[in-house]
Structure formats: C-alpha cells, structure tokens
C-alpha cells in the first residue's frame, strides 16, 4: 500500500485486465522481472467486455487516480469471440462521460494487450503512471465532502 508521504505523490491506479490476454501479459512481465512502476493494482476479469462502466466510476469514487481497461485484440483474439467488441462499443462513450464529469482523459486508458505482449504491458504501466503522477491526485472523496459554508 502506498500513500502520499507529503512531498511525493504516488498515484493509485486500478487496472482491469482480461484473464486470457492482458492478465497473461502482466503475469509474464512479472515473472520475467521487467521493471515496472508498482502503482497499478490489477483486478482480473474474465473479459474486458465484463467491465461495466459502473466499475470504472466506482474505482474513481473510491480513490483511484487512474484506471486502465485492457483486453484481447479485436477482431479474433477474444476468448469469447466478441467480448472485446462490447468493450470498444462502450469505452468511447465512457470517455465522453468522464470528460463531462471533469475527469481528465489522461486518467483513463483502454486498449488491447495480448498474452505475448508483456513488454507492452510494462511500458504502459510505466508511462501511464508517470502521466497520472503529473496530473496529481484526483481525490474524489474530497469532492464529495466539500464544505458548503
């Protein structure tokens, strides 16, 4: 568990990874000892199409500074044939929704990483962590507790 120690902000990032591709890539990146920022908490889901928009909103509400959704490359790589089609139909609308909520687009990433692309995962983790770090904390709980007088 990391926390803001006062001078150095450590982003907290939630990564929804599909069981069949991106989670395998993340696993391979780990056992291959690729150097990665320790800021991404991975939640394994069976398919990126299983990631309901409410999961992403809840992550932000509960304190995430950034969210990643990653699955198998379309078309064809999906273990369930078209689960990732659901992902690419939902996520552009999710981007528009987060923009209206005032959450910077740099805090949300969605895309595809196959089981054979461990270096791509490690690179995404490092770059995305730095991107979110430069934005600073989102701290949505503080938004909800704002004083009214």
């Amino acid at each position: 568990m990391m926390s803001d120690n006062g001078n150095g902000f450590e982003p907290r990032i939630v990564g929804f990874c599909c069981n069949w591709c991106t989670y395998a890539a993340a696993d391979t990146a780990g056992v291959s000892r690729m150097k990665q920022a320790p800021n991404v908490d991975i939640i394994r889901v069976m398919c990126s199409g299983r990631v309901e928009p409410a999961f992403i909103l809840k992550a932000f509400k509960e304190g995430a500074d950034g969210v990643i959704v990653s699955g198998c490359h379309p078309p064809g790589d999906c273990h369930y044939d078209t689960g990732n089609f659901k992902t690419f139909r939902r996520m552009p609308m999710m981007e528009a929704l987060l923009d209206q909520y005032g959450i910077e687009k740099e805090r949300f990433h969605w895309g595809w990483i196959s089981g054979a692309e461990a270096p791509k995962w490690a690179k995404l983790v490092n770059e995305f962590t730095e991107q979110v770090r430069s934005l600073g904390p989102l701290d949505w709980k503080r938004q909800l507790q704002s004083k009214e007088d």
Binding site: E52, P53, A54, K61, K86, F88, M93, A96, D139, D149
Partner: protein, 325 residues
C-alpha cells in the same frame, strides 16, 4: 394518530417545481378520503403554516411527513433536520427528494458559475452594478439573512435519515394512493424501501412495445425523428426504460416519447446512468473500433441523457469542482 383517530400528516417542498404537490391534488375525489383519514398539520404550498408552528410541535408529533424537493440550500437542509425531528416516518417523496431530479443537474456546475450565468451573463439580464445575492444584508430595521446556496445539490437521504422513498417526477396518483393506504393499514415494508413502485421490474416490462432489433447504427434525439409504432430503442431513440424502475405504467412510451428515467434506477442497479450507457452501447451495430466510435459519438450530452433525474444520487454525485473548499 390523533385522538380523533386520524393520521397526522405533514407535507413539505424543498428545491422542487411544485409538480409533486399537483400530483397529490391529482388524487381528485380521493383527496376527500385523504382528508377523512388524515389531519394535515403542515403544507406550506396549500395552506398557511409558519415554520415556528412546526418548531413548537413535540418531537415525533407528525405520523408521516411527505418531503418533496432536493437539498439545494441551507434552508432546505434545516427543514429536513426539523421535519425529521418532528415526524415518526419521513418519506422522500418524488424524484427530487429521492435522487435529485432536474435540480440535480445543477451538479454539472458550482454556485459561482450558476450565479454568474443567472445574474450576469444571460442575454436578457440587465444588472449594470453586477449585483449577486448575498446571504446577509443590513437594513435600517436590522440585519436580514437569506439561505445559503450550496455548490452541490443533495438528496434528502444524503442529509437525513429517510424511512421510505417514493420515486417519480411526479409520483403517479394511483401509486400515491397505494402508499397512503399502506400507511393507514400499517402495511409498510422494511425501512429504506422504495414504495409506490414495482419491487422487481423495469419500465420495459410495463411498456406496450417489445424489443426486437438488437442493432442500431444511428442514434436520434426525440425531436430528430418521427417515431414508428414499435420499440423506440430499436429505432435508435435513447430510451431509459431498460435501466428504470417500473411503476409509472410506461406513460411516456405509451404516447411515443422515450422514457427519461424519472422512476430512478431499476432494482439491483447501483448507478442508473452507467447502466443505461451499457444498454445503449450493447445495441451499437459496429464491428470495428472506428465505426463504434462514430456511432456512439453521436450521443449528445451523455450525463444529461443518462443521469437526467439522478445525478446527485449517482456514483460520483457531481462534476469535479475546480476548487474544493
């Protein structure tokens, strides 16, 4: 109950339009039955009462208070606390008290930007001295105070302990009567329940249409298309039916208008807007990323469309404040 055996009833409006009061009058001749069954102790919209009359009551004096309206300012919140103290059963009555409703869309802005728009920027405004409401003002007779407007619209349940929720903008008269009968008969469900609506169905279950097509290649707003006599969602008109609790009798789709979601999230849905977003995305007829992005890009104003009646009660409550106080 009073000594005459009648129910002691209070009604109050906070940040609301008055439609919930009209909904009660919509009981029509049954309003006489309501009068026979209940003594109205407080109803500022319809009868002359002062806040001090309520303050003078012993705690828990009123059997039931039907509270409509959202919490927009300090007066609304003060009355919410006072009426909780003076009532045995506090009911969040109507969409505003239940989940924020249309006033809740103010959560896309903050106090300052709303004041700027309303008092300074609108084309019809003539305010050369740039006067913006103040919460206190010194008059020769003494200092006067007016309520303080909040940055964030809240639901009744977010500021007070609520016993029951009656959804709808406004609640439909037969549902209101069913709630009154349940109160009189002592047949109320567990505390915290939504009453006066279906416990387990969505508006689609009550709608006269059946969904057939599952593929939509273009979305329309209601004024952009003349709807055919079949499922509106199938025609690309965004209809909140799949994510909305039944209970209204699908009145809007009955006359060819899409459901806008006023009865709140369907049972077991946590966040109505994101559930509706999912439902919309699931029918997009696109097999490539580019095509999908183009089609869903046509959806204008996702928050206003998906959270029209429930932004304050949603997962994130509001748009991010630029500066948190």
């Amino acid at each position: 109950m009073a000594e005459n055996g009648k129910l002691k009833l209070g009604l109050y409006w906070a940040a609301s339009c008055g439609g919930c009061e009209i909904a009660i009058v919509e009981l029509r001749e049954k309003i006489l039955d309501l009068d026979a069954a209940a003594d109205i102790l407080f109803w500022p919209c319809a009868m002359d009462f002062k806040y001090k009359d309520v303050e003078a009551m012993p705690d828990g004096h009123m059997d039931v208070v039907l509270f409509n309206g959202a919490i927009r300012n300090s007066e609304n919140e003060e009355m919410a606390h006072l009426l909780r103290e003076k009532s045995k059963v506090l009911v969040a009555f109507g969409s505003c008290a239940h989940e924020g409703c249309i006033p809740g869309l103010g959560n896309m802005f903050d106090r300052q930007s709303i004041f700027n728009r309303v008092y300074l920027e609108t084309p019809s405004t003539d305010n050369p001295e740039s006067i913006i409401p103040q919460t206190s003002y010194q008059l020769p007779e003494g200092e006067v105070h007016v309520p303080y407007m909040y940055n964030t619209v809240k639901t009744l349940g977010q500021v007070e302990d609520v016993d029951y929720f009656v959804p709808g903008c406004p609640p439909q008269a037969p549902q209101i009567w069913a709630v009154v009968e349940a109160i009189l008969g002592g047949n109320l469900p567990a505390k915290g329940s939504v009453v006066g609506a279906s416990p387990d169905k969505t508006v689609c279950d009550e709608c006269k249409y059946n969904r057939e097509e599952k593929r939509v290649s273009k979305f329309y707003r209601p004024h952009e298309i003349i709807a055919e006599d079949r499922c509106l969602f199938d025609q690309g008109i965004i209809c909140a039916g799949p994510a909305t609790r039944a209970g209204c009798g699908a009145l809007c789709t009955e006359v060819g208008m899409p459901c806008r979601g006023c009865y709140g999230p369907a049972p077991n849905i946590v966040d109505q807007g994101s559930a509706l977003l999912s439902a919309v995305a699931s029918v997009v007829d696109a097999d490539t990323e580019e095509e999908a992005a183009r089609i869903v890009g046509e959806v204008v104003d996702p928050i206003g469309t998906f959270y029209r009646f429930g932004l304050p009660a949603s997962m994130l409550h509001r748009r991010k404040l630029e500066e948190v106080e």
